[in-house]
């Protein structure tokens, strides 16, 4: 099989889809966080693949590093909020976040 840009892009698109479906269908908040990480990493794969086939600048690879750094910051804030939620509700199911509605 010929491995070209299309292969990488398809893999990234499939990963992004898995992440999005996982985020929307899972009810465990940790799993939802992991789904978001999968989505972000599929973006990294897309960026690096595009850069590999268009090497006039390193914009794509630099972008991927920024995404990794921001994803780490996002995970830190997200886990802090999750812990605060767990302390008060004793659960990490997003279905149990039901105080606010209407």
């Amino acid at each position: 099989m010929d491995i070209g840009l299309g292969t990488y892009l398809s893999l990234a698109a499939i990963l992004f889809g898995i992440g999005a479906v996982g985020f929307l269908s899972r009810r465990g908040i940790l799993l939802q966080l992991m789904s978001i990480e999968i989505m972000l990493n599929s973006v990294n794969l897309t960026l690096v693949a595009f850069n590999r086939w268009n090497p006039s600048s390193h914009a794509g690879q630099v972008f991927a590093f920024f995404v990794i750094a921001v994803a780490a910051a996002e995970a830190a804030v997200g886990l802090a909020i999750l812990i605060s939620f767990y302390r008060l509700k004793k659960t990490v199911e997003s279905d149990r976040a039901d105080l606010l509605k209407g």
Binding site: V43, T46, F66
Partner: protein, 502 residues
């Protein structure tokens, strides 16, 4: 001062606010009285707004343009957004100074988060590269997630923050995927380079359209347009009210600012922005369901904060009408400056009106009993007319009643849309009908304030006394009336900023 900075001068407001935030972190460690931090935050942010105004007529030198490359824009639109963002954040910090002390929640993090989120918003407003856009958007959002979760003992705050965080990160990931595809389609990450590549026909068309759709969806989450608004009422209700005010004014202004830049600079190509087949059509549809959804859902709310959250969704719809109108003129006429300036004027008017409404809600309650439901407001106008007065003014302005800022904001947006001919007529009709629906829930607040009495035996919310909250109300009330009585100066200000898009 400006000569001293040389090529860095156009970034002065952002740099000042960032350094001010670092300074506040130091001061936070030293002072015991955290209310002084509120004053410090107010000073830093209003000086930031002042610096942006001071730079208004400064020409941008070639050295600056070269220094910033394609990363950061130096134009009047970014200065305009600086003024709106810093002004709104400064008023929210004042509200925080009163509210947090009254409810014994005072911790310095609140103010530091406000300043750094405002910094993220200012960077977002001037971002001119998809990478800057992403990093600035996350700087803004991560701070605001923290602000929503600020009251650590409240399950509602934790829940609101969790929902906001999950949906916000999901939206960021979608936006990011759009940016990555756009980079792949055009080979550029800076807005001007992307636009030039699309214009020259070098870009892969299908990939560009997919990227545009993903980016518009991601930004629609951030401006809380229906059907991407699910997080808004929950996050607004769960957060402490000054943080809600911050979200309503700062996050929305910054997100709309960058949405304008993305649509008119990146996707300003004739094919993508054709009124009948391009994004103006999509934005018009989004505006219509946002106005209807926001206004209809606001009617059934029993909590005033939630009602104001849905009202902010409805206002996002009116703003989207203006954006759609700006691109709906005849093919060779370019963007409508009238419509763009009406959008910017709307952002200013929306900022001051919301500070006034949320601030009055803060003032109406005190420790032990916050005013949240309509019943809590019953008879307030009779018992405490001085508290009800700013509330009435804020509600009338949000409703769009003359002579307030909100009236002219709606008037300008709708008349700009009318000028675009019959294609926009249906949208104007939807806007007028849905604001008529909106009058019902706004007037309901006034009915409760003046015509109802509290149930016998119910705990009555007693208004708090705070110089901070009162001064925020006086300031925002002044601008609501000033922009309503003499709107021309502000409209001219918005028009000069709108000329950025040429």
């Amino acid at each position: 001062m400006i000569e001293l900075l040389g090529a860095w001068a156009p970034l002065l407001p952002v740099l000042f606010v960032a350094l001010g935030g670092l300074g506040l972190m130091l001061v936070d460690a030293l002072v015991k009285d955290k209310a002084e931090l509120a004053m410090g935050t107010f000073v830093v942010l209003s000086l930031g707004a002042g610096l942006a105004l001071g730079l208004w007529n400064e020409p941008v030198t070639a050295a600056s343009t070269e220094l910033f490359g394609g990363w950061v824009a130096a134009d009047r639109l970014s200065l305009f957004l600086d003024v709106a963002i810093c002004g709104g954040a400064a008023l929210a910090a004042l509200l925080g100074g009163g509210y947090l002390r009254e409810h014994q929640l005072e911790r310095g993090e609140f103010y530091v988060l406000v300043v750094f989120s405002a910094f993220g918003g200012m960077m977002l407003g001037r971002s001119s590269d998809v990478l800057t856009l992403f990093v600035a958007l996350e700087t803004l959002s991560l701070g605001v997630y923290g602000l929503v979760a600020f009251r650590r003992t409240s399950p509602r705050a934790a829940e609101g923050a969790l929902k906001y965080f999950l949906l916000g990160s999901f939206a960021s990931a979608i936006l990011l995927y759009g940016s990555a595809l756009l980079y792949g389609a055009t080979g550029h990450t800076d807005f001007v380079g992307i636009a030039a590549s699309i214009e020259a026909g070098d870009a892969e068309t299908r990939l560009t359209i997919l990227a545009m759709a993903l980016m518009v969806v991601g930004l629609a989450f951030k401006v809380s347009a229906v059907p991407f608004h699910m997080w808004t009422p929950d996050a607004y209700e769960g957060a402490v009210t000054p943080a809600t005010t911050f979200m309503a004014v700062v996050v929305k202004t910054a997100a709309f600012g960058v949405l304008l830049r993305v649509l008119f600079v990146v996707f300003g190509d004739d094919m993508l922005s054709a009124p009948s087949t391009g994004w103006p059509r999509v934005l018009g549809a989004l505006a219509a369901i946002t106005m209807l959804g926001g206004n209809l859902a606001a009617i059934v709310q029993r909590n005033v904060k939630r009602m104001l959250a849905y009202s902010s969704i409805a206002h996002a719809g009116y703003i989207l009408v203006g954006i759609a109108a700006a691109a709906s003129g005849p093919a060779d006429a370019g963007w409508s400056e009238t419509a763009l300036s009406s959008v910017l004027y709307y952002l200013l008017a929306y900022t001051v009106s919301n500070v006034l409404a949320f601030g009055s809600l803060i003032l109406a309650g005190s420790h032990g009993k916050e005013a949240v439901s309509y019943e809590d407001l019953a008879g307030l106008g009779r018992r405490h007319p001085a508290v009800a007065l700013p509330f009435v003014l804020g509600i009338l302005s949000l409703m769009g009643f003359p002579p307030t800022a909100g009236f002219f904001a709606k008037y300008y947006v709708l008349s700009a849309a009318m000028q675009m001919g019959t294609g926009m007529l249906w949208l104007v009709l939807v806007a007028v009908l849905s604001s008529a629906v909106g009058a019902y829930y706004y007037l309901r607040v006034l009915v409760f304030l003046f015509m109802k009495q509290p149930e016998p035996g119910a705990v009555v919310a007693v208004p708090m006394r705070s110089l901070y909250v009162v001064s925020a109300l006086v300031l925002s009330g002044y601008f609501v009336l000033r922009m309503g009585l003499a709107p021309n100066a502000y409209l001219e200000f918005a028009l000069e900023a709108a000329r950025t898009f040429g």
